[in-house]
């Protein structure tokens, strides 16, 4: 049975707003405040980063993930397909910008023989997808690093040690 997953518009809209706000502020300062030489490069790099972030949010909105007995597929502008026999590694990271490390988000990286798929925890049904992938990885004896094991335990799943 094929299961479909998408990013909700709310999560993507936040990223679009962040990317747009960052780009407008940095390009605005570059355009109107005539900053000094080295600052131009710093601001240009930051503006570029915000633009990439904005573009990535658009790509996310257009992407959906398919999971079935053959493997996992990302369908959209940056399509990728990882069949289960090609599954090499799974990594689950946790990031937070708060000093007490509360809140934050997770990122799942599925590595195949010919590329990888990155999935953020803002995806609807992320927990189920992450657990399904971990079970598949466990069946195929993929190694989990210490961070991935700890983060999976937080999701209520115990991977092999």
């Amino acid at each position: 049975m094929t299961r479909n997953f998408r990013y909700p518009f709310g999560a993507v809209a936040t990223e679009l707003a962040q990317g747009a706000a960052g780009s407008v502020v940095t390009v605005g300062v570059l355009q109107f405040a005539q900053p000094a030489g080295p600052l131009i490069w710093v601001l240009a790099a930051v503006a570029g980063l915000f633009l990439v972030y904005f573009a990535r949010a658009v790509v996310r909105y257009l992407t959906r993930f398919e999971l079935d007995e053959r493997g996992i597929r990302a369908l959209g502008p940056l399509a990728r397909d990882i069949a289960w026999p090609d599954l090499r590694a799974l990594r689950l990271d946790h990031y937070t910008t708060r000093s007490d490390r509360s809140g934050g988000w997770m990122q799942l990286v599925v590595r195949g023989a010919r590329g990888s798929i990155r999935i953020d925890s803002s995806l609807t049904g992320f927990d189920a997808l992450a657990v399904a992938l971990a079970e598949e990885a466990r069946r195929r004896d993929c190694a989990f690093d210490a961070s991935t094991r700890a983060n999976y335990r937080a999701l209520g799943f115990t991977p092999n040690d």
């Binding site: 990223e15 962040q18 990317g19 706000a21 960052g22 502020v25 300062v29 405040a33 005539q34 900053p35 000094a36 030489g37 600052l39 930051v46 980063l49 915000f50 990439v52 972030y53 990535r56 990271d93 946790h94 990031y95 937070t96 910008t97 708060r98 007490d100 490390r101 509360s102 809140g103 934050g104 988000w105 997770m106 990122q107 953020d120 925890s121 803002s122 210490a146 961070s147 700890a150 983060n151 937080a154």
Partner: protein
């Protein structure tokens, strides 16, 4: 990591704006300004030419303008008398005390401060890392006790007192004067190999004086952190499976114990710079600390403001780098802090 980097940048930009606003507000808090004091003094002397210059400066730097406008001009987001000319444009303003542009007044001092503080950080890490690892892996040995005692002495001794003691002994016992960060003949001279060598030969004293307490603190934290890791289940399991001790130590516990080193990058730079100010006064170092103190005392607002903004920028950029490194090194969830959404 891109999402993380962007979110951290989004926090960093308003943080810097708030810091700059608070810095400017604090500098402007006392009644009057440097020029008001000057005017009172010049009026009593009847010096009309100097009075005109003071008025010119007041107009040029917008000291007669509303507070918010002065602030916006200072950071370079608002057009002043000279067009856009603030921190963003590389114009640090005018030092009223020295009657020179801040950039010219600061001159070598920022470079010397950077060399000194970078050397202190290297010294701290180079000494603390091997000692911390040794103390943790040889817990309660004679070496551990001895190094712990030294650590406490280092922590408990104020830097300026240590500087005074060193100066006294160097002078009384060896007849040496260890003040200054270079030989006097190189002061104000352009940089060259000879000047650089002179700085290097004078550097070790302030590096030891300023770095000792930080080194001691770092040893304590690394030892405690590594001891915590070494007692965890996975280390016991690996030992039971016969993993060689050094390989086991390097593979996981040491990596985890590195976190405080990386987390400290953000705090280290500003604390070393502000902490070294009194030592710089005691040792007559031509670094930025004593000048910052003097600028704050005399309400030389652009000089003080530029220094404080520079320190804040170092802190914010340092925190940003350490957060990125920490996120890359150890992206684990801390369940005590909360849960991921």
């Amino acid at each position: 990591m891109l999402t993380y980097t962007i979110r951290r940048l989004l926090i960093m930009i308003p943080t810097l704006l708030v810091i700059s606003f608070v810095t400017f507000s604090i500098i402007k808090l006392p009644p009057g300004d440097f020029l008001s004091n000057q005017i009172a003094e010049l009026k009593s002397q009847g010096d009309n030419a100097a009075l005109e210059k003071v008025e010119f400066l007041r107009k040029q730097y917008g000291l007669d303008k509303p507070f918010v406008e002065q602030y916006a001009v200072w950071i370079g987001l608002w057009r002043g008398e000279k067009g856009f000319s603030g921190l963003l444009q590389g114009d640090w303003g005018w030092s009223f005390e020295y009657d020179l542009p801040v950039g010219d007044v600061v001159g070598d001092r920022m470079v010397l401060s950077f060399i000194l503080n970078f050397s202190v950080i290297l010294f701290t890490w180079a000494i603390a890392f091997p000692i911390g690892v040794y103390a943790a892996t040889h817990q309660y040995s004679w070496g551990d006790h001895g190094l712990t005692l030294l650590g406490y002495v280092g922590l408990a001794t104020p830097n300026f007192l240590f500087a005074l003691v060193l100066m006294y002994f160097a002078n009384v016992e060896f007849g040496l004067s260890i003040g200054g960060i270079m030989d006097p003949e190189y002061l104000g001279q352009p940089w060259g190999w000879a000047k650089f060598r002179s700085v290097l030969s004078h550097l070790w004293i302030p590096v030891i004086v300023i770095g000792t307490s930080g080194t001691a603190a770092m040893i304590r934290r690394l030892r405690a952190n590594l001891l915590d890791e070494l007692q965890k289940q996975y280390v016991v399991t690996a030992r039971a499976r016969g993993v060689p001790a050094v390989r086991l130590l390097i593979k996981y516990p040491l990596r985890m114990a590195l976190n405080p080193f990386i987390a400290d990058i953000g705090n280290l730079l500003p604390s070393v710079i502000s902490g070294s100010a009194i030592v710089a006064v005691v040792l007559s170092l031509q670094t930025s600390g004593p000048m910052l103190l003097e600028a704050l005392r005399s309400q030389d607002q652009y000089l003080a403001g530029s220094f404080l903004m520079f320190l804040s920028l170092l802190t914010v950029v340092g925190m940003f780098i350490s957060d990125l490194l920490l996120a890359a090194l150890d992206p684990r969830i801390r369940l005590t802090g909360g849960t991921a959404k």
